[in-house]
């Protein structure tokens, strides 16, 4: 790992869009009044490719749909909890259903995945989006863990004319992958570390936390970063998991509610693989507790200590 400065995923993503606009790609960026310094550059240089619909997420998705129907690649950019839930029925009807009939390249880019807006409280925590989005047919779902993956996903989004939900962290994050590292987007996951008899399967920012736990401890465990839920090569993932005796899943989302843990438990069950799975995440409650991210993780038993404890003594779930 390098010691370079952490980067915000949204800046990396928007910088790529700026470069794509300079290449004259047919792009529109639609936002619900959510900004960033790089977005300021875009609206200054490419004002006619930028639409601020105001605080109106339903309209953002509808406008994006209409633009995509006219052949544009559209990025609907806003805060993750609002862009995934305030306009869920627009996403269902106009993107998920409609894309079964016609190609629509609408990329919903939600900033503030999981607990990234920690001290903003439960309205800004986004704990449901993976479950909700992977439920909808035809919507690709990306949950990158670092800014290098954000780059790969942004490039992918420009080339694949399908609706997508891309959840980004709001905080700057260090890289987990070397440039051009061993990532195949179609796989949807990457095995970042091998060893021990327990595999931690994490997504988004929690892969960063698991990586820190691994680097700071003498305890060995495998680490799989699930950065996409569609596409996700389940056969390959199963092949990796079968090398271990136990699995700990790790997500900034509700556990037992259709998120990462459900994906892993279902995969193992469908293939008749008997393996202990210990889900770590938020357990059936909202977090009104005021505190920074590490504190919230601690409260949920999903900080580094909680991860190491689960690795050492997972309970049986399957």
């Amino acid at each position: 790992m390098t010691t370079e400065k952490p980067l915000a995923m949204r800046d990396v993503f928007l910088q790529h869009l700026l470069e794509a606009l300079r290449r004259r790609e047919k792009i529109f960026i639609v936002t619900d009044d959510f900004g960033s310094p790089v977005l300021d550059k875009i609206r200054h240089e490419f004002g006619d490719h930028f639409i601020n619909v105001g605080i109106a997420e339903q309209n953002a998705i509808n406008i994006a749909t209409g633009l995509a129907a006219e052949g544009f690649t559209v990025f609907a950019y806003g805060i993750a909890s609002f862009m995934s839930m305030r306009c869920y029925e627009q996403i269902r009807t106009n993107l998920s259903m409609a894309s079964q009939q016609r190609a629509l390249n609408v990329n919903i880019v939600g900033v503030g995945a999981g607990l990234s807006y920690d001290i903003s409280g439960p309205s800004h925590h986004c704990l449901e989006d993976i479950t909700l989005m992977r439920l909808l047919p035809h919507i690709e779902v990306f949950s990158p863990s670092d800014w290098t993956l954000t780059t790969r996903v942004t490039e992918w989004s420009l080339r694949h004319p399908r609706p997508k939900y891309i959840r980004l962290d709001s905080k700057p994050v260090p890289r987990l992958y070397a440039d051009g590292g061993p990532v195949t987007v179609e796989d949807g996951f990457c095995e970042l570390a091998h060893g021990g008899d327990t595999c931690v399967v994490a997504t988004g920012f929690m892969t960063q936390v698991a990586r820190r736990a691994l680097d700071q401890s003498a305890i060995r465990f495998g680490l799989v970063d699930v950065f996409a839920f569609r596409p996700l090569d389940e056969d390959r993932l199963l092949g990796v998991l079968k090398k271990y005796r136990r699995v700990v899943t790790l997500e900034e989302g509700f556990i037992h509610r259709g998120g990462l843990d459900t994906v892993v438990i279902g995969l193992l069950a469908r293939h008749g693989v008997q393996m202990a799975v210990h889900p770590l995440g938020v357990n059936d409650r909202y977090l009104f507790d005021i505190g920074h991210r590490a504190r919230l993780h601690q409260l949920c038993g999903m900080d580094e200590a909680g991860i190491l404890q689960a690795v050492a003594a997972p309970r049986v779930e399957t």
Partner: protein, 281 residues
């Protein structure tokens, strides 16, 4: 002289449109006979508007290429109440006339709500309040492409309760979408009651004007008036979106429906359909 010639030509066209509207109304009733699940009352109120749009020379389309880039986009946002589109699309060759006998039958592509698997239908309909926003996106996209194609969208008045409609109304005015026309099928009745007893939209024209729309209110069953309103929209150079508030009668042509505030959910039996068709003929 030129004016007289135009008037004569218009009179002939209006006469043809009236005949076509009578045919579409009867065919819509027949479709309802095939498929009692269809919402017949709300499909009878926009007949003259739809006929004038499709046959009056205002909507640009090519049935052999439903997705032709140069077409005008027409969005049937009031999905349940657009069964009258089926005979129109069949008559124009988007679908086969024989398909009208298959509505809501196993294996048909014509359900009780038109959706985008049908040639000539742009969007997935049935969930109200989406059409105008999608239309705004199309209008912006067409403007960006420097296309002279236009976007038309028809909503019901009950549909105006959806907040997303007003997000789009404000957006269209703000962005000066002069290539967008909204037609409100203003029949005054939602499912359970008259709209005024649920949410009062009046004065709708003033509300839309305040959001920077050009608005004209017409008798939606007066084909000449609808024709003129559509002509004004096509010729508008104001740079503002246009709305036609078409005052209509829900269940138009079927007295038992016209009198019934709950007509939205009413089904006609074979005898009632035969009587209604006979009355119109």
């Amino acid at each position: 002289m030129a004016t007289e010639t135009k008037t004569t030509a218009d009179a002939a066209l209006i006469s043809r449109l009236k005949e076509k509207a009578a045919w579409v109304r009867n065919e819509t009733l027949k479709v309802h006979g095939v498929a009692p699940e269809t919402r017949v009352a709300s499909s009878l109120s926009p007949v003259e508007v739809l006929v004038t749009l499709y046959y009056g020379g205002w909507l640009r389309f090519d049935p052999r290429q439903p997705q032709w880039e140069g077409r005008d986009r027409f969005i049937a946002s009031k999905g349940h109440g657009c069964i009258a589109l089926y005979p129109i699309l069949a008559d124009l060759g988007f679908i086969g006339l024989e398909e009208l006998a298959t509505v809501c039958k196993n294996g048909s592509r014509l359900g009780c709500i038109p959706d985008m698997q049908i040639p000539g239908i742009e969007t997935t309909n049935g969930s109200l309040g989406h059409g105008l926003g999608v239309a705004c996106g199309m209008a912006i996209g067409l403007r960006q492409k420097r296309s002279d194609a236009r976007v038309y969208v028809i909503t019901g008045d009950g549909e105006l309760c959806e907040g997303s409609v007003w997000e789009a109304v404000m957006f269209a005015g703000q962005h000066g979408l002069g290539n967008l026309t909204l037609i409100v099928d203003y029949n005054g009745i939602a499912m359970l009651d008259r709209c005024r007893n649920i949410i009062e939209f009046e004065p709708l024209d003033r509300k839309l004007r305040e959001f920077q729309w050009d608005v004209v209110t017409v008798d939606g069953h007066d084909i000449g008036a609808v024709h003129e309103a559509l002509a004004a929209c096509r010729q508008s150079r104001s740079g503002r979106p246009q709305a036609i508030v078409a005052r209509t009668v829900k269940g138009k042509g079927v007295p038992s429906l016209e009198r019934d505030v709950l007509c939205h959910i009413k089904t006609l039996n074979a005898q009632q359909i035969a009587e209604a068709i006979g009355r119109a003929s």
